[in-house]
Amino acid sequence: MTLKTSMLVAVLALASSAGALAQSGTLKIVSSLPRTGSANAQTGTIVNGIKMAINEVGGKIDGYEIVYEDWDDASPQRGNWDPTVEAQNANKAVTDSTIIGYIGTFNSGAAKIAMPELNKAGLVMISPANTYSGLTKPGMGEANEPMIYRPSGSINYFRVVPTDDLQGPVAAEHVAGSGAKKVFILHDRELYGKGIADVFQKRAKELGLEVAGFEGIDTKASNYKSLCQKIKFSKADAVFFGGTTQSNGGQVAKDLRSVGFTGMLVVPDGCREEAFIQAAGASNLEGNTFVTFGGLPPEQLTGRGAKFCEGYRTMFGTEPEAYAVYGYEAARVLLDAIKRASTKDRTAILKAVAETKDFDGALGTWSFDANGDTTNRVFSISSVKGGKFVFERRAGDAPAGGAKTE
C-alpha cells in the first residue's frame, strides 16, 4: 500500500509541478498536542489559533482544500503526553500521504519522538510550544543533539517560540535584578524542566548569585514540605522551578508558602497557564511569583497580533491563552509556504517553510534561521495578582544580550 501511495504521490507531484492540470485535491494539516490532561487549556487555545488561521484563508489555497485534524498525543493513564501515542501519531502522519504538515508538539519530550520519524519522511513539523534548546541547537543539549533528530541529514523541524537557552537567562537576570543573593534551583527531571534549570544555573552563577541547591523533585510526591523547609533553612531568597503545571509546579509553590518561605519564586513558560494558578491556589502566588514567557502575552501584542486577539474573541468568545498566538502563527507560516510552493509535494512545501524570511506575523516580523528556530527573541515577565497573570515587563530583546552561551 505504501508503495502504491508513494507512486501515486509521485505521479501527482509530477502532474502538479508540470502545471498542466488544474490543481485540486485535499491537503491535510494535523496537530499533535496533549488534549487529555491539564495541558488541555493551553492546547485547546492552540488548536483554536490553527483553526482561525485556516479559516482566514477560507480553507482553500490555490484550489487545494485545506483539511485540519486535531490529534491527541496524551493518554488518560498519564494525564499528560504519552510517548506511545506520540509515536503512533507520527507514524500515522507519515503513512497518510495527503498530510503535508505536522503542527506539534506541545512538550519537548514528545518532539524527540516524533522528529526523527517525520524527518525520514521529509514531512514538515512546526512546533508552537517546544522550547528545549537541544532540539535544534548544536552544543546546547546532549552531545548527539540535534543530529539524532535529523536522520535524513536535512532539517524538517521548525519552531515559532524562542528557546530555553534564551529563556533561562532571562529568568536568572530577573532574580539578580531584584537584589536577591542566594537562589535555590528545583527542576522536574524532565527534558524541558532540567534543561531550563541548567541554563538558569549557568547564567545565575555568571551574575554572581550564590546557588544554595540544585535538586530534581519527585513529580508524583504528595507534598514537598521537607524539601521546602530545607530551602527555608538554607536562607535562599529566591527559588527557580524548572518545570510545568503537569510536573507539580502548583504543589511546589503551595508548599514553599506553607512552610513560610517569603522569597521570590520564578517559574518558566511551562507554568504560564490558568491551571497553574488553580493548582497552586491564587493566594500562594500573589505578589512574589514571576513567570517568564517567550514572546508577549496576548494583551500586549500590537499590530497583526492585536488583530489576532480581536478576531479570536469574536470567533470563540473567550480570551486567547498565552499560546494561542503560536498555534495561529505556526499554521499561518505553513499556509504561507503552501501558497508559495503551490503543490501537494511534501518536499517542496518543506523547502518553502525553510525559506520563510521576514514573515509578517502576529508576533512581529521574523524569519527561520538555519537551525529552524525563529529569529524572534522577545520575552516577557509576568506576575500573579488577584489570580490572574499580570504583565510586568519586556525582557531579552534581540540581540539577546549575553543570553547566548559564552
Partner: protein, 319 residues
C-alpha cells in the same frame, strides 16, 4: 541551635505524612488479611473520597471558612467521605471480588486492577463537573486546589523556626483515635473475632456458624471508611487533589503494609511511620531524587532479613 530546629521540623513533617499513609495502609492490610487480595483499587478509592469531600465543600458553599464553621465543615467532610468510601469499597467487593471468591487469587488481582482503572477514570470525569470548586470543570485532569480550611498558623509562635500547625494537629487527632478504635474492633469485639477467624480459615469459620460474606463485607466497609478519613485529612494537609493522586498514595500505603508485615495492623502503622520519616529525612538531608531509592532499598533489605515484614508473624496466616 538551628540544626535541632531543622531536625525537629523534619520529625513533625515525617510523622504527619506517615500518619496519612498509615490510614490508607490499614485499609490495604485489612483486606489482605481477610481475603489475601492486594486491593489495587484502594488508592483510587481514596482519591474519589477526596473528590467527594471537595464536592461536599462546594455544595456547602465556598467562602471564607474560619473558626467554628471551618471545623464544622471538616467534620461534615470526614463523615461524608468515610461513609461514601466505605459503601463504595463494599460495592466494589460485591461487584468485582465476591463473584471470584473461589477463583484463583490471580483472577482476583486482575479484577482489582480493572476496578482501579474504572475508579481513576471516574475521578477524571468527576474533575470535569462544572462546579466552582473544580474551577468550572474546564480542565478535568488538572490538579484541583483544596481550600485551606485548616489554618497554617504556627502553634509554637510566629518567631519559632519550627512549624507545628493546626494541620499537623488535625492529622494526628484523626489518625491516632481511629487506629486505637480499629485495634479495639479487631481485638475486642465480636465482629473482630469473626474477622480474625475468617482470616485464619474461611471454611472453618463458616462451619462455626460465621457468616463469612458478611464479615468480609464489613471489612471492606471499615477499610474503605478509613480510606475516606485519610482522603479528607490528606486534602486538608496538602491542599491539592488530582485524579492521579491515588496511585502514589496507594503505592506508599502498599509499601508500608508490606514493610510492616502485610495483614498486621500495628505493622501497617509502623511501616507507614517509617516511610513518612525516611522520606522526610532523605528529602531534608540528602537529595529528593534519592528518596524513592532509599525507601525501596529499605523495603528490600527488610524483606531479605525479615520476609514477613517488621511486625508480621509467620504463624498467623497458616493453620
Amino acid at each position: 541551635m538551628e540544626w535541632v530546629d531543622f531536625f525537629l521540623q523534619q520529625l513533625i513533617t515525617g510523622l504527619s505524612n506517615g500518619m496519612i499513609i498509615a490510614l490508607i495502609a490499614s485499609g490495604y492490610t485489612m483486606v489482605y488479611g481477610i481475603i489475601e487480595l492486594i486491593n489495587f483499587a484502594h488508592g483510587d478509592l481514596f482519591m474519589l473520597g477526596a473528590f467527594l469531600a471537595l464536592t461536599v465543600l462546594g455544595a456547602l458553599g465556598l467562602g471564607d471558612w474560619s473558626g467554628a464553621s471551618a471545623w464544622a465543615a471538616v467534620v461534615i467532610m470526614l463523615m461524608a467521605s468515610a461513609g461514601f468510601c466505605g459503601v463504595l469499597n463494599w460495592g466494589v467487593d460485591r461487584l468485582a471480588y465476591k463473584p471470584l471468591r473461589n477463583a484463583s487469587k490471580l483472577s482476583l488481582l486482575v479484577s482489582a486492577i480493572g476496578a482501579s482503572f474504572i475508579l481513576v477514570n471516574l475521578g477524571l470525569f468527576w474533575g470535569g463537573v462544572p462546579m466552582d470548586v473544580f474551577a468550572g470543570g474546564v480542565a478535568a485532569a488538572a490538579p484541583k486546589d483544596f481550600p485551606a480550611l485548616v489554618p497554617n498558623t504556627n502553634l509554637l509562635g510566629e518567631e519559632s523556626l519550627v512549624q507545628f500547625t493546626p494541620k499537623d494537629v488535625l492529622v494526628w487527632a484523626v489518625t491516632v483515635p481511629l487506629m486505637v478504635g480499629l485495634t479495639w474492633i479487631v481485638t475486642r469485639t465480636r465482629l473482630g473475632k469473626a474477622m480474625r477467624a475468617t482470616a485464619q480459615n474461611p471454611v472453618a469459620a463458616r462451619l462455626m456458624g460465621i457468616d463469612t460474606d458478611r464479615v468480609i463485607g464489613a471489612t471492606f466497609l471499615i477499610g474503605g471508611a478509613l480510606g475516606g478519613f485519610a482522603s479528607v485529612i490528606y486534602s486538608l494537609y496538602n491542599n491539592t487533589i488530582s485524579f492521579q493522586m491515588g496511585y502514589r498514595a496507594g503505592m506508599d500505603a502498599f509499601t508500608a503494609a508490606v514493610l510492616g508485615g502485610i495483614g498486621s495492623m500495628p505493622g501497617a502503622v509502623t511501616g507507614a511511620l517509617v516511610i513518612g520519616l525516611v522520606r522526610s529525612m532523605s528529602d531534608a538531608y540528602l537529595e529528593t531524587r534519592w528518596t524513592n531509592t532509599i525507601v525501596f532499598g529499605i523495603l528490600v533489605l527488610i524483606l531479605i532479613f525479615r520476609p514477613s515484614g517488621l511486625l508480621g508473624s509467620r504463624a498467623k496466616e497458616k493453620v
